[in-house]
């Protein structure tokens, strides 16, 4: 656990060389309809495997909830 990233406003330690795709699997979100913003840039799902997270990265992971 040697990379510190901010996910949804909270600091988390993750393994070095973790990709966005791997992180989503670790968070058990692989089967959810989600959207991911990486350092204020929104990612296409096709980019998830190719982006490796670095210390200081900020992620927003969102999904649809009830609303009017």
């Amino acid at each position: 656990m040697d990379v510190n990233v901010n996910i949804n406003g909270k600091a988390r330690w993750i393994d070095a060389n973790t990709t966005v795709e791997q992180l989503i699997k670790q968070l058990d979100l692989a089967n959810e309809r989600i959207a991911v913003e990486h350092n204020r840039i929104i990612l296409e799902a096709t980019q998830f495997p190719s982006i490796t997270l670095k210390s200081g990265d900020a992620l927003e992971i969102v999904r649809f909830v009830g609303g009017g």
């Binding site: 996910i7 949804n8 406003g9 909270k10 968070l27 058990d28 979100l29 959810e32 309809r33 989600i34 959207a35 991911v36 913003e37 929104i42 990612l43 296409e44 799902a45 927003e60 992971i61 969102v62 999904r63 649809f64 909830v65 009830g66 609303g67 009017g68």
Partner: protein, 260 residues
Amino acid sequence: MEKLTIAGRSFRSRLMVGTGKYTTFHEMKAALDESGAEIVTVAVRRVNLEEREESLLSYVDVHRYFLLPNTAGCKTADEAIRTAHLARAAGLSNWVKLEVIPDDGTLLPDPVATVEAAEALVKEGFVVLPYTSDDHHVARRLLEVGCATVMPFGSAIGTGQGLPHPERLKRIIDMVAGRVPVVIDAGIGAPSDAALAMELGADAVLINTAIAKSENPIQMARAMAMGVEAGRLAYLAGRIPRATTASPSSPATGLIGSTL
């Protein structure tokens, strides 16, 4: 009934419903089914990573319902634009129900920021359905920047106060003149409010709280659908003008005991 068409996409139902404020997802699903609605609104929020939460989409069949993500909670144009991008990235469509509402307890939309965000999103190829007040000047601006609908409120969000100013809504409907659908969004409390909105010539209504927080959301969903349908049919049929003098419905002649 003739179909409702928004940005080239046709819908049978003129009732749009929200998915917020239900006691359980099961109740929400049953109410959506009963409403006959095809367009359902959803919000975009951070995934809760501390505590596993059930997914809304386990209860809303995206093949049956057309999901309309909103930008609720966004206080500025930039936040709304960012949220619209996230909603699009989630991969269902490029439609967005635009809401820019400063947090001052009124839930009144910021008209300047709403027009600004709408213009930017339309330029990026979004189909923009903006929540707005009943000010027809703002509605005109939203129309001019290319919004796919105009969605004025009947009254403040969640109040169930109905349509206290139908003449303002009628002014918007007349100004828009069929160029895009006018959807009455917010404030509807009862099927009679929904019917009145449709009688005025609105193309659709959007209801959340009045169904979700009623004592029986499933029955109320059906009642709202009937109100919308009755109001639409009445609009098409053309109501009688209001008269100031009474006129009997039965013949005034041939009465017994008459001398003529």
